[in-house]
Each structure stands twice: as structure tokens, then as C-alpha cells.
């Protein structure tokens, strides 16, 4: 048989890996045809919403719902007392702590859920909420974590024994009643010794402020308990639907086969939708109580004030080096503000996430990290906002320490990085804090970045600008921001990564249809990442059927195989690997079928793009389409009919994407406004599946990095009132503020991943934050600045200039 198209055309038709295939999701999103949780409307559906605490710390002496129950349309009011008989007034958090579902005698943060009003519609619920009378007795408020560790005020009486002693927490001994855990990595004494005897030591204290992922779609759920067949269906904004099913089963006692969890379209997650929230539990209970479907949807204020903050790390660092700049040791201490409950979303054994990646991209022989988690009267959370677990904090820390060390050494910060990078030949490299970096080629990436922006030329221009400024010729200073980051993503190997005991593998199940199209289902769930596009591309390359003929489905626990969901850039490293592996199982069976059809031995056929060909005789072949048909419809001796495969993939290691970012900005000293002149981002995410989607992810991640570095924060006053509860104060950048981004890449495939891919959705955020911050700080380096805290909003930049005496 002869083809009328060339091999190149056959490759092109597949739209497999490496192709900038257009996103298949966008047809429905751009036409308003997405199906989000709030789009779900069921017969007789009720609406639930919370009475929330106006106080950050108070005892609740009475809740009177009588008047609320009189309000037309109000069906029920749930309080902790109603949930207690079910054992649901508290729930486990992902961090091994427990959290009140509804206030049990007291509240620990402003906006905490106090009662759940269920009504016929949202308006009636709002009327009901106003009619619930809650008596509060205000308690002293603790908002500062350092003060919390000194304070007599006990935030969590439930964690103090009757005799006043402190039982161990989920992560070991506790030092104070407001202390949650101490988590250590590395070697304390050797590190201290190295630092004490070092030729040069730089020290810095920095605060990585509290912020929030703020996805466009807020959190919500619809629970529907079918009392006839005993089945609970729960739609929700879940980044990990399968884990939610298991958790719901464990805490409600409903058997897991009777629970169906569905994540429909999700309008952005960024970590906000990893946790389990009181609203989910209350919608379930309310549906069980009323026998009707119950919807709960956060408004913007609820979202910003109560579900899933990120960061809030107070970090102190010491970094030592030889006089010529070779780093010898790193010491890091973190005081982590976790709010009223420890609801961080991290793998169980990592209460501070992967903060121990804080040695960064550098060959640092000795290091030590200690993190103290602390309770305060703030909202719980501590999620990984567009990053793998606490990796933004770690990378920010080391990329600032490098700059501070460069200042101390009076050395160029790019050069300091270069002489300390882990060398290509050192991979796989075991870092002082324990991780085994799988691969990297940092020098190549760095040189490419510096050359592209003409780094030397920029520094010369900057030096001239400083002269001009001093001479009164300009009021603008120039900042050059550098950052080189190594991420740690793709959690993770079941041997050390689990969440609530659930191993962090992932999965893919493929079913090929007789006519040569397919459906694949995964344990992950896209929130905008474009899984339906990219996973089909992986499969297209693996099984030789066009991506356009492959449906990707995620998010329905009744149909998709079990997996731990999408966050921490784990989808491609873990589920993407499962997809490739399942595809290979399909291919192995297809090979047998092809050999049978071509009447040769299995070993005499080989895979070529979209077909199996007889080795040495490429004109003799069977296309995958033909093989698919034969697999169902032709009796093949010794081979079961059908063409399906499942793979559960437990990754042998994390993946370690890296990148080199450079930002050039001009800062108006008189107003504090930074004008971003250039932003160059080189990413190495290993094998590139869809360059267009990578670029989109990089743009989005950088924009969220700009947000966090230059203004976005969750701020509280001394009374624990959240001052940034609306978008009037919480900065969300728009196209208006966003500069042009130049993207670039190198490719260092992951050696252990089936297709060599590493994950990219979060890299730009992780690398972007220190890059923007370093640019701001670098602009003032010539005037004596070593460090100022983010967010670098206009006012704070102006204040830096003012403190340095630059306003005359």
C-alpha cells in the first residue's frame, strides 16, 4: 500500500507533542458556554450561606436562630450544636490539625463561619443571616506571630490538656500554646560552625507577606443527597476531587461508592481550591438534613477573607562565603503565620512544604533550615499560590540572600550566581537539605539569558544613570532584577508524599474506540491549564491517533481513575507520565495486533508516527486506526478483544524545572512608580508539549508574580480586621499594568519522566516574584539599600527612596 501523504504531513496531522495546538477548551469558554459550579441548577435546589464573625477573636455566648427561622424562605439554620451529634462540627485539615466547621464556642478569625442559613434562594438566605442573633464576648486579639509566641492569650484551648500541658501536635512537640510545630532540615551545628568561622557572612531578615490566590471564580459547591438510593453527589471547586471524595467518606461515614464528586469547569485555582472548606461540609449536611440539593457559593469578600491565604513567612537568613564568593553555608529560620487553624495544604511529612529547596540552584555544601508554625487570629490557609509547596518562599529567600551576599562581597550578582551554580556534570545532585535534583544545565541557561539582554550593557547604562541622577539630570533610577530558580514539582513519590495518608500518585485510563478515536480520563483536573489540549497531544504521540480524535475527561470520580488532583505543577509530571505509560500499554497491544494482521512476528514491526510498519518494508503497514478497528472486530488468537489501558504512576522522583529571569525597570523616585521596560524569561521545563500553552502559562505566572511583588497583599489591622477584603484594596493586575514578556527556553529533559517533561505552570510565578523584587531593590543598591520587604507598591518604593534621602 502507498500513502498519498508524506511522513511529515502524518506527524503534523497528529498534532502531537511539540505542536502549538490551539486550546480545545476555548471554544466553550470564549462563548460563555463553560459549566461552572454556580451554573449548576437542580430542581428544588436550596441556597446556603454563612453568618460570619465580625471579630477576630471572641467567645460565643449564645446563638439565637429563632427570628431567622421566621424569615420567609428560610428552611434551616445550622450551628455547631447541630453538627456535633454527627461529629461534623470540626473537620480534619490537610495539615494534621482540625478546624471548626462552624464556630464551636469561639471564633479565631474575622469572617469565621458561625452558622449556616439554608433558604430557598440567596436573598432569603441573606435575610436569614441578618436575623440570626449571635452574642460575642470579645477576647484579646493576637495578629503578630512573634507576639503570639510570647502571649498569655490561648488561641486554641482545644490543644491544651486539662493540666495545662501541651500534647504533641501532628508534627511533634510544641513550645508554647500558640506554637504549632518546629520543622527542621539539614545539619544545625555544622552549619553554624561554617558560618561562625566563615570569611564573609551576610545576614538578612525578610517578610514574605500574606497574599491570596484570588481566582476569578470563587469557591463553591452543590451537594445533592438522594435519599432513595443513598447516593451523595457533590459538585464543587475541587482541585483534588478524588481526595475530596475520600475525605467526605471518612468524615461523614458515607461509603465511598455512594459518593460521587464532580469538579466541573473551574475558573482558576492557584491553590485556593485544594483545601476542604466549611462550606463544602455544610452544603453536604444541609442536603442530608433537608433532602434537597444545597448550593453554597462564596462572594469575593468571603473568598479573600476566609479561604486559603498564601505565604506569610517571616524569614531570617545567614549565608557564608569565601572572600572570592564561593558559598560555604546557609542558615534559614522561618516564623510561619498559619492563622487560627493549621490548614496548610502540604504533603503530610512536610509541614513547611518543600521550603527545604531553599538552597536553590547553588552548590551549597552545608545548610540548615528550621520553621516554626504559629497560630494567630487570622484566616487559615497557607496554600501554594501558583507554586509547588512553599517553593515561592524558598526561592524568594535564596534569591534575596544571593543579592545581599553580592552586596556584602561587592560583587556582581550575576557572577556570584554563576560561580555557585550546581554544574551540569554534578546531576543528579543531592542538596544539603536532602533533595535529589534530577537534571539541570544552569550555566547554559544563565549565559543565554545574560547575552540576550546584553547584561554588561545594561550594567553600564545603570552606572551612567546613577551618575546622571546624582548630577540632577534625571529623577529615574534603573533596576536590573535577576533571578535563577529551581523548582521542585510533581509531588510526588508515594514513599514520602501523601496527603492525609493518600499517596500522591496519579492515573490515566484510555479507551480506544473501534473507529480509531479515543477517550482518556485522568485523576487530575484542569482549572485553566489546558489539560484537554495537552494530554491529548501526549497521547497522540504515544498511540498514533490524532489529538483531535482524543477526548480528555477529568473531574468525575465515578468515571475517572483515582488521582490526587492538580496543584503544585504535578499534572504533567505525574498524570502526564501516567498518560504516556498507559499509551505505551496500548501501543504494546497494538503491536501484537499489527504483527498478526501483517503476518509477521511481533518483533518485526515497529511504530512509526501513526502506524506499525514491517521493519525494512515501510510500504507494509497497519495504521493505528486500522488496528483499533481490528482490535474489536477481528478474532485474533490469544488476544482479548478491545483496546484499553490504565496506568497508575508513582513517580520515582520529583522534577526540577528551572529558569533564568531578568527584569529591567525604571523607577520614578518622586512617585515610586516602577516602569517595567523589559522582562525576559527563560524556562527549562524539559520536553515541551505545547509551546503556545507554555507561553500562556509563563505570561499568567509572571503576571501573578508581578501582582505579589508589586502590591498584592492581605493586610490586617491590630484588631484582626482584614483590610483587603475587596478588589478595591486587593491588587489584581489587568492588561493595563502588564508589561510585554519575552519568553525563551532551553530543554533539559527529566531523565526519569517517561517523556522528559517537568511541569511549567508555576515556574514563572516562583522565579518571577524574586525577579521583580530584585529589580526594585537593585535600583537603590548604589544608594545603600540592601533589602526592603515586598510588596513593593508605589508608596513603599517611594518610602525606600525617601529613607535613603533621595527626595532632597
Amino acid at each position: 500500500m502507498k500513502d498519498d501523504i508524506t511522513r511529515d504531513e502524518r506527524v503534523e496531522n497528529l498534532k502531537g507533542m511539540g505542536c502549538s495546538r490551539k486550546r480545545v477548551e476555548d471554544a466553550r469558554f470564549t462563548q460563555g458556554k463553560g459549566n461552572y459550579v454556580d451554573d449548576i441548577k437542580l430542581d428544588g435546589m436550596l441556597f446556603g450561606d454563612f453568618v460570619r464573625s465580625p471579630y477576630a477573636h471572641a467567645r460565643i455566648t449564645n446563638i439565637d436562630a429563632a427570628a431567622a427561622l421566621e424569615v420567609p424562605g428560610v428552611i434551616a439554620v445550622l450551628t455547631a450544636a447541630d453538627l456535633e451529634p454527627l461529629g461534623l462540627h470540626w473537620m480534619p485539615t490537610l495539615a494534621g490539625d482540625k478546624q471548626m466547621v462552624l464556630a464551636d464556642g469561639k471564633v479565631l478569625f474575622q469572617g469565621q463561619e458561625v452558622a449556616f442559613v439554608v433558604a430557598e434562594d440567596r436573598y432569603a438566605a441573606a435575610d436569614g443571616i441578618e436575623a440570626v442573633e449571635v452574642e460575642y464576648e470579645e477576647l484579646p486579639v493576637v495578629v503578630d506571630p512573634f507576639a503570639a509566641l510570647q502571649s498569655d492569650v490561648v488561641l486554641r484551648e482545644d490543644l491544651v490538656a486539662e493540666d495545662g500541658s501541651l500534647p504533641d501536635g501532628a508534627h511533634g512537640p510544641r513550645k508554647h500554646h500558640n506554637h504549632i510545630f518546629t520543622w527542621e532540615a539539614g545539619d544545625k551545628e555544622p552549619t553554624e560552625q561554617v558560618i561562625d568561622t566563615a570569611e564573609v557572612v551576610a545576614e538578612e531578615t525578610m517578610y514574605y507577606h500574606r497574599t491570596h490566590p484570588c481566582p476569578l471564580e470563587t469557591c463553591g459547591s452543590v451537594a445533592s443527597m438522594d435519599k432513595v438510593n443513598g447516593k451523595l453527589t457533590l459538585w464543587g471547586t475541587f482541585q483534588a476531587p478524588h481526595a475530596i471524595r475520600t475525605i467526605v467518606s471518612l468524615i461523614s461515614g458515607i461509603e465511598e461508592h455512594n459518593i460521587r464528586v464532580i469538579s466541573p469547569d473551574i475558573g482558576g485555582g492557584f491553590g485556593n481550591k485544594v483545601g476542604a472548606y466549611p462550606g463544602y461540609v455544610c452544603s453536604v449536611v444541609a442536603s442530608i438534613v433537608t433532602g434537597k440539593p444545597v448550593k453554597w457559593i462564596e462572594d469575593r469578600m468571603d473568598n479573600l477573607m476566609t479561604t486559603a491565604f498564601a505565604r506569610d513567612y517571616h524569614m531570617t537568613g545567614k549565608i557564608s562565603a569565601t572572600r572570592d564568593g564561593k558559598i560555604t553555608g546557609l542558615h534559614c529560620h522561618v516564623t510561619a503565620d498559619h492563622g487560627g487553624f493549621d490548614a496548610c495544604a502540604d504533603p503530610t511529612k512536610f509541614p513547611a512544604g518543600f521550603m527545604n529547596i531553599c538552597t536553590g540552584s547553588y552548590d551549597i555544601p552545608t545548610a540548615y533550615l528550621a520553621v516554626d508554625g504559629v497560630y494567630t487570629n487570622k484566616a487559615p490557609g497557607g496554600v501554594s499560590y501558583r507554586c509547588s509547596f512553599r517553593v515561592t518562599e524558598a526561592v524568594y529567600f535564596i534569591e534575596r540572600m544571593i543579592e545581599v551576599l553580592a552586596i556584602k562581597l561587592n560583587m556582581d550578582a550575576a557572577e556570584l550566581r554563576r560561580i555557585n551554580f550546581i554544574k551540569k556534570e554534578q546531576f543528579p545532585y543531592t542538596a544539603a537539605l536532602g533533595w535529589e535534583y534530577d537534571s539541570g544545565d544552569y550555566h547554559t541557561a544563565w549565559d543565554k539569558a545574560l547575552d540576550t539582554v546584553d547584561y554588561k550593557g545594561l550594567r553600564a547604562e545603570q552606572a551612567q544613570r546613577v551618575e546622571d541622577f546624582k548630577a540632577g539630570k534625571t529623577r529615574k533610577l534603573m533596576g536590573i532584577g535577576l533571578s535563577f530558580f529551581t523548582e521542585i514539582v510533581g509531588a510526588g513519590p508515594v514513599k514520602n508524599c501523601d496527603i492525609l495518608g493518600l499517596g500522591m500518585f496519579d492515573s490515566c485510563e484510555i479507551r480506544i474506540h473501534p473507529t480509531g478515536s479515543a477517550i482518556a480520563r485522568l485523576g487530575t483536573i484542569s482549572q485553566g491549564q489546558g489539560h484537554a489540549t495537552t494530554f491529548a497531544q501526549i497521547l497522540a504521540s504515544e498511540i498514533g491517533l490524532p489529538a483531535d480524535s482524543i477526548t480528555i475527561e477529568e473531574g468525575d470520580t465515578d468515571t475517572a481513575p483515582y488521582g490526587l488532583g492538580t496543584y503544585g505543577s504535578r499534572s504533567t509530571p505525574v498524570a502526564g507520565a501516567a498518560t504516556a505509560m498507559a499509551g505505551r500499554k496500548i501501543r504494546a497491544k497494538a503491536q501484537m495486533i499489527a504483527a498478526y494482521l501483517l503476518e509477521v512476528h511481533d518483533n518485526d514491526v515497529e511504530f512509526d508516527v501513526d502506524r506499525f510498519v514491517v521493519k525494512g518494508a515501510p510500504e507494509r503497514f497497519k495504521t493505528m486506526k486500522e488496528i483499533a478497528f481490528a482490535s474489536y472486530n477481528q478474532a485474533i488468537p490469544g488476544v482479548e478483544p478491545g483496546l484499553e489501558a490504565v496506568s497508575y504512576y508513582d513517580p520515582p522522583n520529583m522534577t526540577y524545572p528551572f529558569g533564568a529571569y531578568i527584569c529591567v525597570m525604571d523607577i520614578d523616585v518622586d512617585t515610586g512608580v516602577p516602569e517595567i521596560r523589559r522582562f525576559y524569561a527563560l524556562d527549562d521545563c524539559g520536553t515541551r508539549i505545547n509551546p503556545m500553552i507554555i507561553e500562556g502559562q509563563v505570561h499568567g505566572g509572571l503576571t501573578e508574580a508581578l501582582a505579589v511583588a508589586l502590591g498584592q497583599e492581605i493586610a490586617y489591622d491590630d484588631m484582626g480586621n482584614c483590610k483587603t477584603g475587596t478588589l478595591m484594596d486587593f491588587f489584581l493586575p489587568t492588561a493595563w499594568e502588564v508589561p510585554n514578556y519575552e519568553t525563551d527556553y532551553t530543554v533539559t529533559p527529566s531523565p526519569h519522566h517517561p517523556i522528559g517533561a517537568k511541569g511549567v505552570g508555576e515556574s514563572p510565578h516562583v522565579g518571577g516574584v524574586p525577579c521583580f523584587s530584585n529589580a526594585v531593590q537593585d535600583a537603590f543598591r548604589a544608594f545603600g539599600n540592601t533589602h526592603t520587604n515586598m510588596p513593593h507598591d508605589h508608596w513603599r518604593i517611594w518610602k525606600t527612596a525617601s529613607d535613603l534621602g533621595l527626595h532632597g
Binding site: 508589586l710 502590591g711 483590610k723 478595591m728 484594596d729 527626595h807
Partner: protein, 258 residues
Amino acid sequence: MYNFEFENPSSIAEAVAALAEEEAQALGGGQTLIPTLKQRLAMPSKLVSLAGIAEMKGVSIADGMLTIGGGATHAEVAAEACPPLAALAGQIGDPAVRNRGTIGGSLANNDPAADYPAAMLALKSTIVTNNREIAGDDYFQGLFETALEEGEIITSVRCEIPEGANYQKFVQPASRFALVGVFVAKYADGVRVGVTGASEEGAFRWDEAEVALNSNFSAAALEGLALDAEGMMADIHGSKAYRAHLVGVLTKRAVSAV
């Protein structure tokens, strides 16, 4: 949002009559009032929409006088008013806000971070209501406070067209309202400087700057002139000192741009 009655009059007289009812409130473009209602921070018994009143529409320029209907939207002002005021209106919110929000609503609301107040102080304005005329200088009376009486509506606004003017808006990054805004207008008989966003007392005229500019209309004339930080507003987006400093910087920039 609580329930309310809704009325849609087509004349000023009908609107005034409808507003006589207790707890009735005027609805302009709803860009401030509707979010307030959604938060249940207001509970009017009745909303009286001004959107259908033809006599409150339009922008006209005649005899050195600019007249803007109280119901003119920001988008209409941006398209039809004299350049500096048009530029100001074009920077309010986003297109959706500008297509609905009205100058009357903005002035009635007198948000301390709103843009129009700075311009009204600088442009020798007269605020015309259903029953009187109020000089712009007497109209603004502090944060969200104005000279308007209960049930009184702004039917139009008149401004004297200056020889030259410029508005410098310094945007609060989250809300994009004015963290500080300075409107400088130059007339044959003197310079007027209107400032919004800065003071705890609301929009004001910066007298010292006006005096300095009257003798020498140049940025250099403002050198060394500083506003007292006391009395400025402070929030998470800027301290008192920052706001005071920005007023100086923006005034210079406005003067240079006139």
C-alpha cells in the same frame, strides 16, 4: 440587596416629586449605589432613576462656558467636553463604569478619591440643582458630604472654560481611583488648583500653590512648597506624607503639561 420600589420618571419635576417620599433615593448610573445596595449598606424604600430624563443629558459648549447635564455619563463627558475634563472622565474606572456612571452621581456621592471634585474646584464650576445654583467652592463639604439637601438632584454642572488646564491622576493600584489627583486650571484672572484623594477633609484648593503660580506660572515656582502631611488621609496604599508629597509632584507635572 433589600427590596425596593422602582420609578423611572421622564422629567426633573416628576423625579423631584418621587424623591419627596421618605427613604426614596435617586439612582444615577448605579456604579456606586448598586454595589452599596448589594452589600446591604443602604436600604432605600424606592429608587428613582434619573436615566430617562432628557433634560439632564448632554454636553454643550457656548460663550466660554461648558455645561454638562447631571445625567451625562462619564463616557459622554470623555467624548464631548473640553479636553482636560474629557481626559479626566476618560480615566474614570473602565468602559462599563464610564458608560453608566454619571457626573451628577459622582458629585452627589463626593467620594474622597473621585476625580471630578478636583476639576469642579479648579474650573470655577457651578452645581445646578432642581431648585438652586451652588458655587463649586461651596459645594464640597468633606468626605461624602455635600451642600445637597435631602431629595435635591444635580440637574447640570457649569464650568468656565480656562485658558489652559491639566489633570494629573495618580492611580491607587487596586481600585484605580485617584490616590491623589490634581487639576490645575489657568484663567486670565488667576490659577486654580483642585486636589482630590489627599485630604481628610475631602477635595480642596491648594491656596499656597495658587498664590505661587499666580506670580509665576511654572513648575519652578512650586519648588520648596510643601503641603503639611497632617490632615492628609492614610491607608494601606499610602501614608499621609506620601499623599502630601504626591500633591506637590503632581501639581508640578500638571503645570508643566498645561
